[in-house]
Symmetry: C2
């Protein structure tokens, strides 16, 4: 028979990144296309010990149903941690455990947006979130980033032009895909605009704990005086993505709706991942663990930047991230970015993600591509940047 | 600030069952309100052993990202098992691993239904699925069950009256909440009507392996000649709900859209649950495990039915399930079902779920309530039926 799909999803494509991830199963391909934590970043011995303890001490609790809001000891721990970080106000706010931070974006959009409502995102931005928003048929509008974050003048123009704007979506720290960090001044300007035009903000912060240079910048959530910011956090980059544990913080009324939406989606997040995250926070020196992660990513980021400096055509600009997993390279206008990415993987077996994957529409013009330094080995970073460098000189010099 | 929620969710309430579950945290309450597997049904020793092996042998694979479609060895195993059971056609169909079977309903509805499309469900039916459908603003219409399943004449009337019907949702085996099983003849009639009116069927089968009396009935999926049936299966009732692993089978085009929707929701299901389910199927005698589960539930079901027969007012009808976790009691018309459920829990500390929780609208009239026998201990079943019996005689004789 013929299948007719809903208007919501008929225009949606599978994520280009995850399609490329499948392709990079070829062991000969050097992949700068992923966003995976480094394998050496996983605290394997601690996880082995905690798993053993969990199944010895409370096997039924791991296996039985739990509540939709999340495993209470983990929620309580995260509320405390987030309160200390200025991201949680116990009087007016609540915290929900989600199946990865991605689910925060999906539940928030489902709870708040009708089809056609405007949602403003950084352009470029994380494709997974953009697709989550598109899957609810919102009017997704991009506002470009400069080096300090989303351009406030263009944001105000966009808010004026779209009086039905409901949400602004931001990744202020080490943004995916650009690696850029929004300055404190810019965070304040954006928050003030959200107040002026009475819209909510989703602050997605999966990489905030992975700063390896410069100074921490206060979260937008910590500046939130009127319950306008939905905050998304994750254990994927600081513990393990395979456990699928993230969390969302928002005013109680908003969390209540997100709980109902989660209940009809996956009922609850898996217990093992939640209980592992809880015990990890209790039993392990988390700050020392984060310091270890920052050391790994600092070394890898510096190695990739050094490789780019040594080998790439000088015509290529690139960002110098102070944390996170990605940097962003930009060709001079008019050059064939897509052709470069295609030749890199097909002829030279080095995989990148073309910047078009992160644009509001894949047809939007961009001359940039994303490079990931967390997943490849040191050797692959050295070799891959050298190979790419030759190709940049061949194609653009 | 004031929050305005989307039209999709503004009418949605938290599941009454899960609200009651919270209430039953009081250890003095005998709960017949849950739907949890019996604690003694969990294969704790096998799970302990497999968890240890998994983290010793492939810790990085457990912790790292996987693919949205699901853990390939588990998918391949389930495809083979489902093909053997007549539920999977490898040429035209595909199988997605989901975060519990609930997610199959949510992804299928999101992929296929526009707001206002009609979705037909058994009345009563599983509240979690009904709420998933409602969360996409479909026109949800109920068709009553008789003892053989959904009434075909009323189904046809409903299909005629709603030419925009997209899906029929059914739980043919040991239905939640009624415990009823749809006969083979009725399954064929319903399938023929789906063909005649060109609609799809979602066959939700979480309890099919838990038959403890009577003969297996072929699935509707096994009768499906034209790619019209979406099949939902689950490990929640045969292994553990806390791992959040289910699966959906459908024509490849439908699964592709469901994969895109899953990608934007939780990216992938947690690896530990998927790898545990895979190794459990590989290493443990699954048929012997199922036989053990059936033994537990047969004993508990018979115990509850004996308690009802011994103590309840003769005016109360109840179903005699041949499998699954639930039975369904019905008061004579005009009696105060809700008052009975309230007095049972408030005055006598025995929790039930009022039938209204399972109606298409909570305002639909019903004189029934659901009783669960899988979660309470034998002693609680004996005591609880006796306590309820006295109240039925007091209120209805």
């Amino acid at each position: 028979m013929n299948y007719s799909f809903s208007e919501k999803v008929s225009h949606l494509q599978a994520s280009a990144i995850r399609e490329i991830l499948k392709f990079t199963a070829d062991p000969e391909v050097i992949s700068f296309a992923a966003g995976n934590p480094a394998p050496e970043a996983f605290p394997v011995a601690d996880v082995q010990r905690i798993a053993k303890e969990l199944f010895a001490e409370e096997p039924i609790a791991v296996l039985q149903y739990g509540i939709t809001e999340g495993y209470t000891p983990l929620r309580d721990t995260m509320k405390k941690r987030m309160q200390d970080a200025g991201n949680f106000k116990p009087e007016t706010e609540d915290l929900i455990i989600t199946s990865g931070a991605q689910q925060v974006m999906e539940l928030a959009c489902k709870s708040l947006c009708n089809p056609g409502d405007t949602l403003i995102a950084e352009a470029p931005s994380f494709i997974g979130s953009l697709n989550a928003f598109k899957s609810y048929n919102v009017n997704l509008v991009g506002v470009p980033l400069d080096n300090d974050g989303m351009d406030p003048q263009k944001l105000e123009d966009t808010l004026k032009a779209n009086p039905n704007t409901k949400l602004i979506y931001l990744i202020p720290n080490f943004q995916n895909p650009t690696g850029k960090t929004t300055t404190l001044a810019r965070r304040k300007e954006i928050y003030a605009l959200a107040q002026k035009y009475n819209v909510l903000i989703i602050e997605d912060n999966p990489y905030g704990d992975l700063r390896f240079a410069g100074e921490d910048v206060p979260s937008i959530k910590s500046l939130d005086t009127d319950g306008r910011v939905i905050y998304a956090g994750s254990f994927s980059k600081v513990l393990a993505p395979g456990i699928r544990v993230g969390y969302g913080i928002a005013p109680k009324e908003v969390i209540q709706k997100m709980v109902v939406c989660k209940q009809v989606s996956d009922v609850q997040s898996n217990n093992f991942g939640q209980m592992l995250a809880y015990r990890f926070l209790q039993e392990v020196d988390f700050d020392a663990h984060l310091a270890m992660l920052r050391g790994i990513y600092k070394q890898k980021a510096e190695r990739m930047m050094a490789g780019i400096e040594a080998h790439f055509s000088k015509k290529i600009d690139f960002t110098r991230p102070q944390g996170g997993l990605f940097l962003w390279c930009t060709l001079p206008e008019g050059n064939d970015m897509m052709g470069f990415c295609k030749r890199a993987v097909a002829e030279h077996k080095v995989a990148l993600v073309p910047g078009s994957a992160f644009m509001i529409s894949e047809n939007d013009v961009t001359y940039s591509f994303r490079m990931n330094y967390s997943t490849p080995t040191d050797d692959a970073i050295d070799k891959g940047t050298e190979i790419l460098g030759k190709l940049t000189k061949e194609m653009f010099d």
